[in-house]
Amino acid sequence: MSLVAEAFVSQIAAAEPWPENATLYQQLKGEQILLSDNAASLAVQAFLQMCNLPIKVVCRANAEYMSPSGKVPFIHVGNQVVSELGPIVQFVKAKGHSLSDGLDEVQKAEMKAYMELVNNMLLTAELYLQWCDEATVGEITHARYGSPYPWPLNHILAYQKQWEIKRKMKAIGWGKKTLDQVLEDVDQCCQALSQRLGTQPYFFNKQPTELDALVFGHLYTILTTQLTNDELSEKVKNYSNLLAFCRRIEQHYFEDRGKDRLS
């Protein structure tokens, strides 16, 4: 959004309180949604839970096309539609709820940097695994991605998306990587996260922030998704403090509220 439009939207956003009927749109949970999208959606849900804002999750087959930026998830609040975690965090901040207000400047810088790390490494690794690893693509991704559509559309859309992702991988230099190298990158990323987390309950000690939501979204999804091979989740399982972290957030923010959205 341009600066002017953004200021305008912030004004409007600030004017209204969070409505009760806010909805989050994602793809169909059982048949269609993929690992990376599920992770992103879970991150947003976790973030909103941490802010204590009610949200209803609605699954639609064409969520990707409904979204203003082409990425899921997106939330529909009042008469605004905002997609992706970054803009959603800003939007929520404009409404007066923020998790990172208590951080000083250096910590905010660190938080942003770690969020970029997760996006850069974990998300890209997930995309790679889903779309560039032939075994996974053939068995899982193609079938899931095109499932709501009739033949031949399902094949066409799946191939189109795959081609697009492969181009992007090549542009960022991941095109030549083998699966082992990608897994090693995931390991490095998890190691970095684990070291940053240390023995604290959350990344910035007592209070969770959007970084915690993002990390939880990705790690939980990786741990609980069944893929052709379990190497990805094995890499995460190597770090016990990350496992404890996921468990803690799941218990505190999802099970305790009585609404189990992590089926």
Partner: protein
């Protein structure tokens, strides 16, 4: 050119706390030292005294007498270089030596630039740094200290040549070069402006001592780390994690904008970037290569920022620049008042941050919105100039002379070019005269001058005949 680091020569040192085994607390980037089964002989660390002659071909086998000579030499070198620690060569205690080694491996890479004795120990001590592992290896049979010793040929780095007051105008080349300077890696640097002359076809490229060619910057740095030129050796685990995070931040937020500023923004591209590349590259590459590079960068940027419709381009641009400004502010806040990001010694993160910032600061861009913002962040500017003056004094200090380096190939080519011009004119003339003679338009009669007019008439008659 340098005398061997003293620590190298001692095969009997105690366990070094900084050896591979103690690295559990440290973040490993790439393979851990334990996985390098470089050494076949347990006694090598003393032999790794090729340290002194880094980069030269070292015979793998060392004889005893030579070892004695080398140890004597290194002892002398120890006194010379480790002024403050004369007992070092004799010291068995790993702590002082490893401390010195680690300190030195962290500290300034170029002894010529720093007046203090400490950096002067760098050369010896970087070798020392390597030998620390070597020594530890002597104990535990692992040995990368052999690294320098094993180098059959020096590593060669091909990178873009310098300009705008910088040692190199390309982001990746600058980052790799800075890292090499930080760690004192003995690289033979070839500054070229013709990417086709590099072994891999792209710049930067590293030709390792084993002949293989690496051209991805991160892999180059990983390789240097493997060869024991590790600037992140002393970082704590947490700092290592921070390094990864900040590098991701740079890549996501700052890189697209940098690419946009230099290659996509029309005014900047035409007046600064393309001009430099076209002047630096030899004929005939300068006609099509800058354009091709621009198209590659544009495609990369488009893929990175996702699809967008043309009318959104301005919005996208504003968004990109806003994020970049935020990123710069974050960097400034992280740096604070420190000299480098992790204390007093440069690490790999500093190399990358420096390369981004230096390019932004030094190039004289007509459209310099980000530059203006960066100039407002004084600690980042001071950081850049500090590194430039410390590690690249001959490149960075004078702005006009570096101009001569791109001009160098030009001036060499100019007389060459002039000669080409004269030759081509002569060739043209000769061709015309030859054609005229052969086709009979003009014919030369070596008869008496009185015949000249009739020759003329004859020539014209022939012409009429032809027609």
């Amino acid at each position: 050119m340098l005398l061997g680091g003293p620590p190298r020569r001692s095969p009997r040192s105690g366990t070094s706390p900084k050896g591979p085994q103690s690295s559990t607390g440290h973040v490993h980037f790439g393979k851990s030292p334990q996985t390098w089964p470089r050494r076949t002989r347990p006694r090598s660390p003393g032999l790794a005294a090729p340290s002194g002659v880094r980069g030269s071909t070292q015979p793998k086998r060392r004889d005893f007498p030579r070892r004695a000579w080398l140890t004597a030499l290194s002892r002398y070198g120890a006194r010379l270089w480790m002024g403050r620690r004369p007992s070092l060569p004799e010291a068995r205690g790993p702590a002082p030596r490893s401390a010195a080694a680690s300190r030195a491996s962290r500290s300034l890479a170029s002894p010529e630039t720093s007046p203090s004795p400490l950096p002067a120990t760098t050369r010896g001590a970087v070798a020392g740094g390597g030998s620390v592992q070597g020594r530890a290896g002597a104990q535990k049979e692992v040995f990368p200290g052999q690294g320098a010793g094993k180098m059959a040929a020096p590593m060669e780095l091909f990178c873009w040549s310098g300009g705008w007051g910088l040692p190199s105008v390309d982001l990746d080349s600058l980052a790799v070069l800075t890292y090499a300077r930080f760690t004192g890696a003995p690289l033979k640097v070839h500054k070229i402006s013709n990417p086709w002359r590099s072994p891999s076809g792209t710049l930067p490229a590293l030709r390792t001592s084993h002949g293989e060619v690496i051209s991805v910057p991160h892999k180059i740095i990983t390789h240097l780390r493997k060869e024991k030129y590790n600037a992140d050796y002393d970082l704590s685990a947490r700092q290592g994690a921070d390094t990864l995070a900040f590098m991701s931040l740079l890549e996501e937020k700052l890189l697209p904008v940098l690419v946009h500023t230099f290659w996509i923004d029309t005014k900047n591209y035409v007046e600064v970037t393309r001009k430099w590349y076209a002047e630096a590259m030899p004929f005939p590459l300068n006609f099509f290569l800058p354009g091709r590079m621009q198209r590659q960068y544009m495609e990369r940027l488009q893929l990175l920022s996702g699809e967008h419709r043309p009318e959104d381009e301005e919005e996208l641009e504003k968004e990109l620049y806003r994020e970049a400004r935020e990123c710069l502010t974050l960097l400034s806040q992280s740096l604070g008042t420190q000299k480098f990001f992790f204390g007093d010694a440069p690490a790999s993160l500093d190399a990358f941050v420096f390369s981004y910032l230096a390019l932004l600061l030094q190039a004289k861009l007509p459209n310099g919105k980000l530059q203006a913002h960066l100039r407002g962040l004084h600690n980042l500017c001071a950081y850049c100039t500090h590194i430039l003056s410390l590690y690249f004094p001959w490149d960075g200090a004078e702005v006009p002379p570096p101009r001569h380096t791109p001009a160098g190939p030009e001036t060499e080519e100019e007389p060459y070019g002039r000669r080409n011009q004269i030759l081509s004119v002569l060739a043209g003339l000769a061709a015309m005269v030859g054609y005229a003679l052969l086709s009979g338009i003009v014919s030369i009669q070596r008869a008496t001058p009185a015949r000249a007019p009739s020759t003329q008439a004859l020539g014209m008659a022939e012409e009429d005949e032809e027609e």
